[in-house]
């Protein structure tokens, strides 16, 4: 019962993520693209839930679907309306884009094939937050502190830039 539901949910959300991703690149208007991106990001969050990564799923919604999408929409609205992108870029750009896309595809397929995927007999129904917290404050304490420092500097820098003088 549970496995059937989980498998069904996986295919639904995977399909939604793919439709969202395709929509982002094929939509005619930028805001429509943003809407499709929202769909893609939320579906990925749902897949995280299916993988028992509850913390990552919540953060995905909080940061990506929430804050980043909002900033994106804000930026789109600050740019002039009615920007119609030319249907095809120049030949040189097409070639370059093709090469980059092929390289990325090769990398991702390679990673998927090389990585050993461990299979658990039962769904991992155990909270992840504590483990993530432990890892961040012991094994990965320096990267974690560094990232925090960078964010803090960014925050203070934004305040400095916004000062009216």
């Amino acid at each position: 019962m549970t496995e059937v539901v989980a498998a069904g949910a996986f295919y639904v959300f995977a399909l939604a993520a793919l439709v969202g991703g395709l929509g982002v690149v094929s939509a005619r208007h930028v805001v429509r693209s943003a809407l499709f991106l929202m769909l893609a990001l939320s579906s990925v969050a749902a897949i995280y839930v299916l993988l028992s990564a509850d913390f990552v799923a919540a953060v995905q919604i909080l940061i990506y679907t929430g804050a980043i999408m909002l900033l994106l929409l804000f930026a789109i609205m600050l740019t002039p309306q009615q920007v119609e992108l030319p249907p095809f870029a120049s030949a040189g750009q097409q070639v370059a884009a093709g090469v980059v896309a092929a390289a990325l595809l090769a990398l991702l397929v390679g990673t998927v094939l090389v990585t050993p995927w461990p299979l658990a007999a039962t769904p991992l129904d155990r909270p992840t937050t504590e483990a993530i917290g432990q890892a961040m404050l012991t094994t990965f304490v320096f990267p974690f502190e560094l990232a925090s420092l960078v964010l803090l500097v960014g925050l203070v820098g934004a305040l400095l830039l916004a000062r009216e003088d």
């Binding site: 019962m1 549970t2 208007h29 805001v31 429509r32 809407l35 929202m38 509850d54 913390f55 799923a57 919540a58 953060v59 919604i61 909080l62 679907t65 929430g66 804050a67 999408m69 909002l70 900033l71 929409l73 804000f74 609205m77 600050l78 909270p127 992840t128 937050t129 925050l155 934004a158 305040l159 916004a162």
Partner: protein, 391 residues
């Protein structure tokens, strides 16, 4: 009475198990729980609209709705019926798909928040291990809908409202998350159920300085996040007419309205959970306490709406970045001190209450002294000028 929901759950599950397979029975009971919570939300929104109109009316020395039903209680029903029967208008140049989707993007996350609220020790639809994060994440999504609605309406005022909403959320989301962190630190869990459980000896509002400060910053940024007055800039009637929902009418407008009140209630309910001990209380059953606390906090929001003028745009952003953000960061450090000294466990709660009231009194006294000094400084040159003019 305090295990009402656990008993109901057990009885229903037993009944369903007799006729259905195990998995289906569980799923049905969960669905029933969701239906009950959604019905509760509808009821709460109706009563909130009535309460808000009545209280605002009293603040403004009016009577408020008093024609439909006793004390005007059925006014919301009449309004909902009117909205349902209205013509559905979509502006000619609007982006139809986005225009139709936007109210749903606003409403659905607002309702999803109610799934994790711990109404009682035995009454949460889903006790998530990352409950706090879930609430914070979903609380940002309605603003996406608002921004899309403002854009899709093809109207300059709506677009202005949308941009205001976006900037406001980006600014107030940071202090909101930081205001919740002290509570997470003190409770040692992200689950809302666990946070309430951790307050069985002392509510977190009682944590010396940390509790009240965290509560105030959370309430302020929460009100800003749900766009209620005095932070209702995205829909400021006197500046941009109605902002993002200007072009919406009938049922689509009603969805925005419903989401706004559902959000207001979820902010007050989350504040009651995080700071006021959720279902903990005396004599009455836990769910009564929870709803009572949430309602009182909602009335505080109504009170703020009735008494405070709307902020100017630059004041709004400056307040978030220059006042709330530093305060919440300092508060986080203080929370670590309170946690390390185990103040909440060692000191009995009446003493904590006295400490907090003392700090509040001291702050009020200090502020009034500063205010009086500023008044005197302003008064001396004015008096001198007046004397100079006379002689």
């Amino acid at each position: 009475m305090n295990d009402l929901f656990a008993t109901l759950h057990a009885v229903l599950l037993g009944l369903l198990r007799a006729v259905l397979p195990e998995g289906l029975a569980q799923a049905l009971v969960t669905l029933l729980g969701i239906a009950v919570v959604l019905g509760f939300v509808a009821l709460v929104v109706m009563s909130q609209i009535w309460a808000e109109r009545k209280v605002i009316a009293r603040i403004q020395d009016r009577v408020g709705p008093n024609r439909v039903g006793p004390f005007g209680l059925l006014q919301s029903v009449a309004d909902a019926l009117k909205l349902l029967s209205k013509e559905d208008v979509v502006p000619a140049r609007a982006d139809r798909l986005v225009f139709v989707l936007a109210p749903l993007i606003v409403l659905v996350p607002s309702l999803m928040i109610f799934a994790v609220l711990p109404f009682n020790w035995d009454a949460t639809v889903a006790n998530l291990d990352v409950g706090v994060l879930y609430v914070l994440a979903l609380a940002t999504l309605p603003t996406l809908g608002i921004v899309l609605a403002g854009w899709a309406s093809y109207n300059n005022y709506s677009l202005l409202g949308a941009m205001r909403a976006a900037a406001q959320l980006v600014s107030y989301e940071v202090p909101e998350v930081l205001a919740v962190l002290p509570v997470v630190l003190l409770a040692g869990t992200l689950s809302l159920w666990g946070i309430v459980q951790a307050q069985s000896s002392a509510w977190f509002i009682l944590a010396p300085v940390v509790g009240p400060l965290a509560f105030l910053t959370f309430l302020i940024s929460g009100i800003a996040e749900v766009n209620r007055s005095p932070f209702d800039l995205p829909e400021a009637e006197s500046e941009i007419i109605a902002g993002f929902h200007m072009e919406y009418s009938g049922m689509r407008f009603a969805l925005f309205f419903l989401a706004e009140y559902a959000n207001a209630f979820s902010v007050s309910a989350v504040a009651a959970t995080l700071f006021f001990g959720g279902w903990h209380g005396w004599l009455l059953p836990g769910y009564v306490w929870f709803v009572l606390k949430a309602y009182l906090l909602f009335l505080v929001m109504v009170w703020a709406r009735g008494t405070l003028p709307r902020l100017r745009y630059d004041q709004l952003l400056a307040f978030a970045w220059k006042v709330l953000l530093p305060l919440t960061l300092v508060n986080l450090v203080l929370a670590a001190v309170v946690k390390e000294l185990r103040l909440l466990e060692v000191v009995p709660w009446p003493a904590l209450l006295v400490i907090n009231l003392g700090v509040v009194g001291l702050l009020a006294w200090g502020y009034s002294q500063l205010y009086a000094a500023a008044q005197r400084r302003a008064a001396v040159p004015l008096l001198e000028a007046a004397q100079g003019a006379r002689s």
